[in-house]
Amino acid sequence: MTTLQQTAAPPAEKSGGAGKRLPLRRLRPGNRRDLALFWFAVPGLAALLLFHYIPLLGNVIAFQDYQPYIGIMHSPWTGFDNFDVVFDGNEQFLRALSNTLQLTLIQVVFVFPVPIALALALNSLVSERLKKWVQNVLYLPHFLSWVVIVALFQQMLGQTGMLNLFLQSHDLGTWNIIGNPDTFKALLTFQVIWKDAGWGTILFLAALSRVDNNLYEASAMDGASRLRQTWHVTLPALRSLVILLLILRLGDALSVGFEQILLQQTAVGLQDSEVLDTYVFNNGLVGGQWGVAAAVGLVKGVVGVVLVLGANKIAHLFGEEGVYRS
């Protein structure tokens, strides 16, 4: 924050002699070009202000008993009343929080390593053409929407889907995986892997391609086995990237697959599927508790920012680059 204010204020204004120097500088042709560049930025800036920063300010309704027909200007202020849900341990809220954290943990453990393993397997393919082909197939699901993916999964694994048809025709019974609260978290995790594991390899493959080949030759000369090469050369080369991605994931710890869950929630029931994002949606837009939902959303956003900044700090302490440096 402090850096923002310092950099935003031109140094000339601090020294007090600004009145004389600024107009002179504006006359130089270079600065007319600077102004042209500013006008280039205006449309994008306007969209950013209108649809990002104004809604950001709109979070004040978290401190109001917001009524749609009265509006932000006239709704009564209630201080921190709306936040009681968060801090007094409302049962529905705690359930959403617990489901969210469980899913984050499951996905860090089971989803995160998959692209690394895939990248290592891809990297050792001998034929370049085959490698490109496999990559292109595996990247594709990333570009599909969650609606498409949920629909595909239903058609494949649902009660009347392909798999169960096959099982039934061979008298193997049915495997009830879609719409089953017990397997819901596993299903979500598998869907995330199916969609994004292939795409996730891009960054790892890029990092692998930058490893100095001499390291492999030297280690082989010293008699390192394949596994030791992976352990001592390949994985260390991926370390910074892994830390960077873990930081980004940590910052997102409170957001788990909003659209994905929303689409499948009705079949499973709220007990096992409610997460923070769906809690905000279900209580605010569907249930009409605008203030409370906005308060939960605001707390979630603030905690997210703190998590990113904190994780970045930790990365610096370990001597890593992290996401940014100030």
Binding site: V42, A47, F51, L165, A293, G297
Partner: protein
């Protein structure tokens, strides 16, 4: 690298030594290990490919075969396009396709133009307003307004049930702008200075020097925007109450995910033709919402690694 290393001695007989590998990178490992890895990749590829094949087959299978198979078909015996003609000859799905295509085309164009301009406007440190605008852009990735304030803003602007509500709120993606900006900044300064000395305006520098040099990046960013618009589901759910204005994703959700039955006015079963089986119709809707992505995919995937890499390394 390969020119330096001798050919693999495995071919010429005798025990191999790991240092003499023709493949750059790790040595290939023992045959069972390699077979295991190939098998793993094969399984992954099949997991992706088989659902697509099944869906496409089911969508073109005749009703007799669908009934006989109990719902799904892995390979159609007598392919027919009945489901597609029923869906696309007027009615809900045809309209949704048009809405989705329109929003994707207009939205991508607007997003690209405004993002390129914003990225170029921010590409020279020290220009007027450079720092505060860049800060606003970067901060927008960190501070995300919640669903509720966004909904209220769009409502306040009177854009509920307007197609603009599916375009304007997502028009600028900060990450995409940063990727473009870092690419623009990597263009040698001398090129731009030469154009300036020749008296080119900033506009013609952008359109005649910068853009021709950054086709790959702009292509990839354009793909990302197009995919986002095509896939937009939640914004449509929020802002579009009028079913006549639904894009494909909402249709897909209602008639495939939630399994509502398509009937009467929703499909055009004119001339007394028999309605194709529900399973084929659902599969066809699914295919229709995947096809545009598969169509643009090959054009841009050539540049994908390059374009994404620049963002990853510098962004």
């Amino acid at each position: 690298m390969t020119t330096l290393s001798p050919t693999r001695p495995r071919r010429s007989g005798g025990r191999t030594h790991r240092a003499y590998s023709a493949i750059p990178g790790e040595s290939p490992g023992s045959p069972p290990w390699r077979a295991l890895k190939s098998l793993l990749l094969l399984v992954c590829v099949l997991l992706v490919v088989v659902p697509f094949v099944a869906i496409v087959s089911t969508s073109v299978a005749g009703s007799a075969q669908v009934t006989e198979a109990g719902g799904f078909v892995l390979w159609p015996d007598h392919p027919t396009l009945d489901s597609y003609t029923a869906l696309l000859s007027g009615g809900l799905v045809s309209r949704a396709m048009m809405v989705s295509v329109g929003i994707t085309v207009v939205g991508t164009a607007l997003s690209l133009v405004s993002s390129i301009m914003l990225a170029y406007g921010l590409s020279r440190p020290g220009s007027f307003g450079h720092k505060p605008i860049l800060m606003l852009l970067l901060m927008s990735m960190l501070f995300v307004p919640g669903v509720i304030p966004t909904y209220l803003t769009v409502k306040q602007l009177g854009m509920i049930n307007s197609y603009w509500s599916l375009i304007l709120p997502t028009m600028i993606n900060a990450f995409n702008v940063i990727v473009l900006r870092s690419f623009f900044m990597s263009i040698p300064k001398e090129l731009l200075d030469a154009a300036r000395i020749d008296g080119a305006s900033e506009w013609s520098i952008l359109s005649r020097v910068v853009l021709p040099l950054s086709k790959a990046s702009v292509g990839v960013i354009g793909l990302f925007y197009a995919v986002t618009y095509w896939n937009a589901f939640f914004n449509a759910l929020l802002f579009m109450n009028d079913a006549a204005k639904w894009p494909m994703q909402l249709v897909l959700r209602t008639y495939v995910v939630n399994n509502a039955s398509l009937s009467g006015g929703q499909i055009d079963a004119a001339a007394g033709a028999p309605v194709p089986p529900a399973q084929s119709l659902q599969a066809a809707i699914l295919v229709l919402s995947i096809v545009p992505i598969v169509l643009v995919y090959p054009f841009v995937q050539r540049h994908m690694n390059k374009g994404v890499m620049i963002g990853a390394v510098k962004g």
